[in-house]
Symmetry: D2
Subunit: 506 residues, 4 copies
């Protein structure tokens, strides 16, 4: 029996602002990971159109940078308005297109709303600095100015929010945006973009043509954006492999980039942990979004003294996880994005076993009869005797490695001994343990949480990580500065011309 | 007659803390641009020693990052103390080694003192942020933590100050430093480093072995540092060509970099300028340091209505510039660093003439009889009919291109139509002109000054530029953040585990 | 003929959310300055009810401070929503109640919307600081916490916006608000408060009872709030006389206060001014709101060389100002708030004449036949030979004193030689003049504008002034810090107990 | 036998820069609390000289505010230099004059050195803000400008450091200082001031006459400073009674003030505390400086479950405290400042006993035979059944009240139920307890420490407290802003005159 067949999504697409002619007849086939059914056939942007598109972005920049920032803020306010109205619809489309459960689909749109409102507040700030000068009759001022067109290249797993994170900040900072959604999940991105387009229309004539543009396509489209001197900032989310290619290419043309690459996120559970809290956090962060968040929990490092007690709680809860159609209210784990993801997970488990691991639970394909062309996997836990090669690698699936430790210093060393540096957490109520973990000699990640899992960041803090994660930040805090250029002016308003450092040259 | 023969500098070297055995017998021959005489033969660091040196830096990092920042500040306070005591000696050595006039040599050391005192203040700040959380019983904190070893690769023209800029911040931020001075000017760097070593000795046992190290050598040494994963941050000053190589290499290994590359700095002189001020600024910034500052004035963009009046002032002053031995009190322009620099200047003049330029003054070699192996050039002004290819290129010599304009918008467009983006200035007392120049649609440089020349920054502001200049910042303002890693922690101190964006997952 | 008779405002009151039973039958008679007609009879809050009301505020504080700030932000977002919907209605009520022209009435509500959106952004910031410690294993953190109930006591001239400025920040900062509108203009305040109440209702149960309360009454009510220890912060707008009483009383009980008191705002017009711009700015800032803004222009200090040229523009424009019913589209100057205000204006003119002044234009009552119980005055300009006593006093009416100067230093000295320090401006395109005015030795006011008048601040900057204006700030920038208390924590997470300053005590 | 008779301090005074003629023949008799011997007879400043002195300060202000801030920083660098050289001497003088032990005397001078170096760093910062404007062609800038003369009125217990805290910041901020040391401890203040005078002399001619002045005298002198309009900022340290008088007087003349008044500082010891750390902290903070710090520990609130264990450690340690001549190396508790202080302590103990308290140890006078005119008291611990009236009052002596609690919320409520709000701490390694204490509903003090005592702040954080402690801050963080005035400028550089909030007025 095939329950919940995918309804023809034309109604939903329509409510999301996608016209029928946009969604049919194209070459980019979009399917649902829920059951492999086709959702749309989008028209790819001809590569030959990119130069013109980039020219329009540049032209838009010259106009948009002169629009006062608080007026630019009004645009993102309207975008938040549109997203709020379409929240459930775009959320449902995310569920269809990438298989997130309903709560997560909506939560992702909420993240877009949140960042728009944050950016609205920023639109009256964008604070620079005045600095005192060592010379009489001089003063120094540092201003932040608009940077130029921003290309936002996103991954399938956050098809809506990551665009919103980047675009809301970019637009308020005075930068046009060019959005290339993942070819695996272009519909949710397109729906989010359509909401922006509606906001632009309401905003009226002060928004120049070319302010927000979308490119539908694949790797070639991405590369064209990465290499274009017309793109001032490339914000790319994806794999470390992708980042290793993009980083040098952007650097070679002296462009700017924000890279949000792979994570290999761990949790340390100490004897002072609240195990009930830890349990809940492990479940959500290891299997939520079917383990396909860049911040998903992948490594669990537990003190030997509490390992068994934790497993006694974890294994039954893990076994009871409802896996299946993400549209169902009780589902907690939906499908993987595609068959390749499932194969990679199985391959990793095989390797882990070869490297001494013991599969505690899960790892097998599921629901193959009901959804023969989809990929449902039972989340797996593999206990490892050491942090072997496979553990040091990011496998984008609900696969959790379990390791134990005796001394906190060893746990932290283990934690840091992977090439990625995105997110991390400790569960402990012991102040000293906590401070050690979040301190200078603790976690080397961009995010080091305490008593919450590694995933599920709020937009108020800066998001991003160190080492092979890329080193950059987006979203809250002062991430906006990356979307602007800094200009330092020393202003002489005296009638003299003294030199710095007291040099005389007459 | 050869006046002012270079005194055997052994006394000076000694006063600068350089031992005789360090300065003799090596393979790196250091000569003075004043008369080509040999100053020292330094011992190059064997490449085979670099891995051990980098290990020591990593080991030092693990200790130094735990030393409280205000205690680290005490180290730079002592360094400032040592530099203040050795100011005139190191200044004199700079004069000998790179040919700066006496005032500038001392001024460069003063810049080191200034940054040490700035860093001393920072050592009790290094402020992170607390951020409110959307979840009850949670809070967010962003801390800045030490980053790791910093390699400082400098150019010949600021052999002392650029190291001090980087090292003072790095040390206070908790990072060991590895200094590779230019092979053209290692002595001044070594003297500055020796002052740091003396400070380290006074600081005592809390400074770990390997905290501050120096590498004497050339390109291969630089490349080894650039490519080493043990180097968390590469701070490299030099040509755009160098940066085009370094940037991608560091990006490929997910390292961090600060690039301070070429400039092609311009001044716009408007009808509302104080021409006397402009004149003084042109002289210092075009011919000071013999045009060999990255911020030297290279392009002069003058409104047609004041062009003649300015030239009437400029040409006689230009003609009266005293060129010669930089140790003489009345000298304003010393030698170029080497013969290649003089040839590049002559080549550029030839090209400029071929591209329609008119040589107004200078450009010829001087003092060849007195200093046959040195390179003294008369500073040149070439009037250009347009901003041709040669003008868009940085020629590291006292060569000034003159262009004119009618409308300020055209002048700004001309100003921005070069690949470099370091420093710039406008001379005007008209508020609207000034604001246009320093505003969002004005100069696209990192520094946009008003009524002072492009060169001679104070250490309070951030130093650096956009486009092919590299995009990074060092010295004052919040440049210190580049020497640290940011860690964002969401701390749950409640007994609940709410998810962000209101997601429920039970 | 009496044009535009005041429509019975019951419809308007109803649209503003004021119930008929609230607006009738009370003891506080509210009349319109347009024609003296009665608008409502409000019920004063019995003084005996204040203790209970303050208890409720304290109880609400204990709950509200625990609501996460971003959630508190949602409340002000809803308030902005309500204000946007009611913008024209509340604007019209402001026109009726205090006589502002229609544009200004609506603009005042817009200011409330603006600050709500600014506060919405703040609700994810409220940044504290982390600070490095001099002791190993220690760190310092400064957090901002909610302060307690805030009493907002406003004046008649901004009956809506000043409450919104304070309440939006206070609510986001975690503080309940108690609003006492001016007894001369309680209706507009009440309408603004009702919009907040609707937002609170939409916000739902997380908003505690007592979060936002209003007190209708006069001086006794104000004093009760000023003296109550339950009020953590008194934000009072009004006269210097009021502030001189309030400041010490709040200080005596160690409370906090924000005082926004009188201004005596001047404009300096230099020979480098754009006189057309200056003319427009003078008109709006001297006669807008009938000269009844705390930032209204009261003193015009003109360089002798341009005085006549300015007057040649100003006097005809002044003469053509449409004075009358503020509801009429072409009216630029409405009535004064009451007869006393008109008498004070006439008294000041008389004194000014006695002190050597020459009345250039205006000063006479108008429209007395049409509006016998209202007070319309023709705006006056009095040329003064010196800054005599009457000029140093704030007269809250459209009365402009004209003085001239020869040297800019003298103009600045004249400018600063009054006891008030709110707002000021210079009109000049000369950079040096401008910088001198906004520099350390320039205007001593809290606001020192350039080429815009002293009135009409945006909400992004901090609003307030020095000297007898009170010294405090509200609205944008970091004014929010006044609504919070700062808590500095040094956290020792080591196993040692070192003392600061290296003291040993074992 | 009278050991360690006070050496005639003339040598010491001389080394501290105090001339014999300054220290003899005057009307202000200065005695040592060690044995009551006379140290000096200072000449009081005639009250009639104050107006002239204030005029000089005002004149100095007009010059000093124009000296670039980094140059002003050089002055405090020299002051730090002088203090470092005189550290042990001034420390010894503090010991003589107020009875601190040697370590503490030196530590106090170190605090002055620290703040000078912090201020040196600030001297290139004093950052204002640029803010984006809602109007095209406009920008907003907020600058901090020098404020005016600052009067620093200090208490006996920090006769050197508190002046340094205020003066270092004031001088760097551009403000002249007028110092009135406590009449009980003018010599240490004078010595600190002399070091500043030597720095001023080295600084040279850019320091105007009247930049730093001292007033020797008592209450009448203080009142004259408090009431003078020439004093822009009164920074007064002392009792709540003093502050209750000063606050309203300064407010009445619209001056600014920094009040650092009484504290009633508590420590909460929870079951999760490290009792050994707690013990050490209690000892230092309760009896250090003989309990005469504003941050001394006065209330100990211990969880019932650990009370006995803590007392078992505390009472023997308490009994072993060496009390006596503070110059002796093993002394930990020196004399009280005078007999009145001892009487107040005894009176408080008597009251406490009457209110149900039980004296656990100490409270009796000591060494009366050896030092008949001095006042040595054995530190006392009184166990209280409740927080009665006497406990809510600050008694400036080594008197510690002990209370217990069952629930942390009750402990915090008890903690906050006093009128003072200076410093506080919790000893606990439980994260939740700690966060609760330093959070919005925790300690209501300005300082809320964790695992360190309430006293002994570093200069990096802001120092000061809430409620009757005054509400102000000095020393680190952004306390410097109180020594400056903020100026907000909206700059129109366009050719239009748009109004804020979109208002039209043509």
């Amino acid at each position: 029996m095939r329950a919940h067949p995918i309804a023809p999504p034309s109604d939903l697409l329509d409510r999301c602002g996608l016209r029928a002619d946009e969604c049919t007849g194209g070459t980019l086939r979009v399917t649902s990971p829920i059951d492999g059914s086709e959702l749309a056939r989008l028209h790819e942007t001809p590569l030959a159109e990119l130069p013109g598109l980039l020219d329009r972005a540049q032209a838009a920049f010259k106009i948009w940078r002169e629009v006062p920032a608080p007026a630019r803020g009004e645009l993102v306010r309207l975008w938040a308005d549109e997203l709020r109205a379409a929240r459930n619809d775009i959320g449902a489309l995310i569920t269809l297109e990438v298989g997130k459960i309903v709560e997560e689909g909506r939560g992702e749109v909420q993240e877009g709303i949140d960042i728009c409102e944050f950016a609205l507040g920023l639109s009256r700030q964008l604070y620079g600095r005045t600095i005192v000068s060592e010379r009489p009759g001089h003063r120094i001022v540092e201003q932040y100015h608009p940077l130029g067109p921003v290309a936002v290249i996103t991954a399938f797993n956050f098809p809506s929010a990551v665009f919103a994170w980047n675009a809301a900040l970019a637009l308020v900072c005075g930068d046009p945006v060019i959005f290339k959604p993942s070819e695996k999940a272009p519909l949710s991105g397109l729906a989010t973009f359509k909401a922006l387009q509606r906001a632009v229309a309401r905003f009226g004539e002060r928004a120049p043509d070319g302010l927000a543009q979308i490119v539908i396509g694949g790797a070639a489209h991405g590369e064209a954006l990465v290499d274009s001197r017309a793109v001032a900032l490339v914000s790319a989310t994806g794999s470390t492999r992708m980042g290793r290619a993009v980083g040098p290419r952007v650097a070679a043309r002296f462009g700017r980039r924000i890279l949000e690459l792979g994570g290999n996120n761990a949790m340390i559970v100490t004897p002072a942990a609240d195990l009930d809290l830890a349990l809940r956090a492990i479940l959500f962060s290891a299997v939520g979004t079917a383990g396909q968040r860049c911040t998903s929990l992948r490594r669990l490092i537990v003190h030997r003294s509490v390992k068994q007690a934790l497993l006694d709680r974890l294994l039954p809860a893990w076994a009871s996880l409802q896996i299946g159609d993400p549209r169902a209210a009780d589902t907690r784990v939906g499908p993987l994005i595609d068959r390749a993801a499932g194969q990679a997970m199985q391959q990793a488990i095989t390797e882990a076993q070869a490297q001494g691991g013991r599969l505690l639970t899960g790892g097998e394909p599921m629901l193959a009869e009901r959804f023969p062309t989809a990929c449902y996997m039972r989340p797996a836990i593999v206990e490892m005797p050491a942090q072997t090669e496979v553990v040091q690698r990011e496998t984008f699936a609900p696969l959790l490695y379990l390791m134990d430790y005796e001394q906190l210093d060893d746990a932290i060393a283990l934690h840091n001994a992977v090439p990625q540096g995105l997110s991390s957490c400790i569960f402990s109520n012991d102040l000293r343990e906590v401070e050690r973990f979040i301190g200078a000699s603790g976690s080397d990640c961009g995010m080091a949480n305490v008593n919450i899992g590694p995933s599920g960041a709020e937009i108020g803090g800066a998001f991003g990580g160190e080492k092979e994660t890329g080193g950059d930040r987006e979203s809250g805090s002062d991430a906006w500065k990356q979307y602007m250029r800094r200009s330092t002016s020393t202003i002489n308003h005296s009638r003299e011309l003294p030199l710095a450092q007291g040099i005389r040259f007459d």
